[in-house]
């Protein structure tokens, strides 16, 4: 793609998300969603092959359906409240429709089927944008309407998302699908806390984006799309291999890494709201996620898989790919746990 065209498209994606986040008028929010969706389609189809076209088609159909549902919810809300401003939604039907639409955009269960298929069909760069940047806009609207959301519905979606994300990612060998199921599970954690403490959702989203960005950038450095190619990384980039180890454990939510912060905070908030069974189930289901992250780590960093090249250590050669901002991203993704006491300023 020519640089001017790429710049315009990326600017449109960012503008669309900004419009959604900064608007208080429902129509403008919908316009922002549409701009964002239409602009990202050429990014998804950057590598022009039939699989990418199928992935883009699936993404477009899902997002367009969600936008239609959102518009329907907005229209019903307009009918009952008489206003376009984003405020408390009094009508339960409008609230449920908007929640359903936004969860469809995020890829929460039971609207999660498109996430692994679309992520698998696109490049690593496009997948990174899809699983990080594209979550910001719907999450910001969920944040704004959080007092009006049906708690039971969202909690059910959250629980099923965590289950689906853990179970679905279990025996995957394709890295993009693993990250897609990881996204579904993390979205589930965010959805669980949004009605009780939306600020925790923002914290979880921030840390999730940092960890996912770092992981994708490490995969792009090695051009790995399968577990097998990742397991040959020890031969080429031993330092990157050890970074993957730490990042996977952080994604799995193990202390003393950053990924533990959102899980800890969310379980604490849920127990403060007299919920015992749901956070227990979520914590137990998170073990499934940890299992497949650990399996990835085992084959990548903890074992020296037999490689096909004749050289014992290929790392003697310099790698030519640039890893912009990778060191600060890895540090923020893994070493923020000691800063947890600072979260008291959010209260």
């Amino acid at each position: 793609m020519k640089p001017p065209i790429l710049i315009i498209i990326m600017a449109t994606i960012m503008t669309g998300t900004m419009i959604v986040m900064l608007s208080s008028h429902w129509l403008l929010i919908w316009i922002g969603f549409e701009m964002n969706m239409l602009a990202i389609i050429p990014i998804l189809m950057k590598k022009y092959n039939p699989r990418a076209m199928e992935a883009s088609t699936k993404y477009f159909l899902t997002q367009a359906t969600a936008s239609m549902l959102l518009m329907m919810g907005v229209t019903i809300n307009l009918l009952y409240s008489g206003q376009w401003v984003v405020s408390k939604i009094s009508n339960p039907i409008a609230s449920i429709m908007m929640t359903t639409a936004l969860t469809m955009k995020l890829g929460l269960s039971p609207f999660h089927f498109w996430v692994p298929e679309v992520t698998q069909g696109i490049t690593l760069m496009s997948g990174m944008i899809l699983l990080t940047w594209q979550k910001i806009a719907p999450m910001s609207i969920l944040y704004q309407i959080s007092p009006s959301i049906n708690t039971n519905l969202l909690m059910l979606m959250a629980l099923t998302s965590v289950l689906v994300g853990g179970w679905g990612g279990l025996n995957q060998t394709q890295l993009r699908k693993i990250m897609a199921y990881s996204s579904i599970a993390h979205m589930g954690w965010m959805a669980a806390i949004i009605t009780y403490n939306p600020t925790m959702m923002v914290l979880n989203l921030t840390l999730y984006i940092l960890m996912t960005l770092s992981t994708f950038m490490l995969f792009m450095l090695n051009s790995s799309t399968t577990t097998l190619s990742l397991s040959h990384m020890w031969n080429k980039f031993p330092l990157i291999t050890s970074m993957i180890l730490i990042l996977m454990l952080s994604l799995g939510g193990l202390p003393p890494l950053s990924g533990f912060i959102p899980k800890w905070m969310i379980i604490q908030e849920l127990t403060k709201n007299n919920m015992i069974i749901i956070p227990t189930l979520m914590a137990i289901t998170a073990l499934l996620n940890l299992y497949f992250y650990l399996r990835l780590t085992y084959s990548t960093a903890l074992t020296m898989f037999p490689s096909t090249n004749n050289m014992k250590m290929k790392w003697q050669f310099e790698y030519t790919k640039k890893a912009t901002l990778l060191p600060p991203l890895i540090i923020t993704s893994t070493m923020l746990l000691p800063l947890t006491p600072m979260l008291s300023v959010l209260d």
Binding site: Y48, T173, L228
Partner: protein, 328 residues
Amino acid sequence: MALVLKFLNGTYIFRKCPKPNVASCPFLGTHFVDYCSSSLQKPVAAPGKTSSQRNSEGDLQGHHQREAALDITSPEEKPLVSFDKAIKDEIKDQFRRLKDDIVNHWIGPEGRPLHEVLLEQAKVVWQFRGKEDLDKWMVTSDKTIGGRSEVFLKMGRNNQSALLYGTLSSEAPKDGESGRSGYCAMISRIPRGPFERKRAYDWSQFNTLYLRVRGDGRPWMVNIREDTDIVQRKNQMYSYFMFTRGGPYWQEVKIPFSKFFYSNQGRIRDAQYQLLLDKISSIGFTLADKVDGPFFLEIDFIGVFTDPAHTEEFAYENSPELNPRLFK
């Protein structure tokens, strides 16, 4: 819809009649009666004559008739037709598959531990050792469009291979619209999970297709289709040639996946794309060399393996003159 078809299959025939080929596989179960009754009416070849005719090519037809004769059930063994039993068996089968799916999902990819899958360098995907292996394939020819080619699939000698044989005829059907004809194909059925859910093969860690075949010197086309959910991609496939030697010795054909070229609706496209190996739906062998007459292809097994010497990712280039949009 697939489940309904399976029920109709199960209720009427109850696995006693031979499975019909795609050419005569209509939608409704009642038509299977016609197929069975027509095979019952075919003349039965005398057993003494078949041994002397075995070596000539013409008795492939007689062999088929003998095959048909062997499949005719004697009056004492009438096919058991029971609707309730068939439905119960089908439901049990589907739930057993669901249970296996859940257990295999827990164990690892394809029901095997992950380290075993990652360390694997060669895998036999299809082999022909019994009748149940033939059920994973279907044969088709231009008979579906009114042509005169015939194709059959049966087990080879000692149940160690599959024999695909028949007669190719390039005589175009006289329907006023077809100008060309003459093809026969053998296509693998799409793997199905519980409740007939479509599945795909993941061959992403292999890079070469390995076939052990014995042919008659004819050129075949190996076609691979990817798994897809959109109807526009149903006609897309990736193909390469397989030239058979025709001798009495087995031939080992190795085709790297990087060599497969892309075609859509039967036409090779200017814009070529790499075959992505993580969602393979089916493989097929097609004969369409415009040479009328009998043919045969014996297949021992079809496998995939990693050839460490083969580092090519994609054999074809796209040209900016032919496809400028790919270079924008």
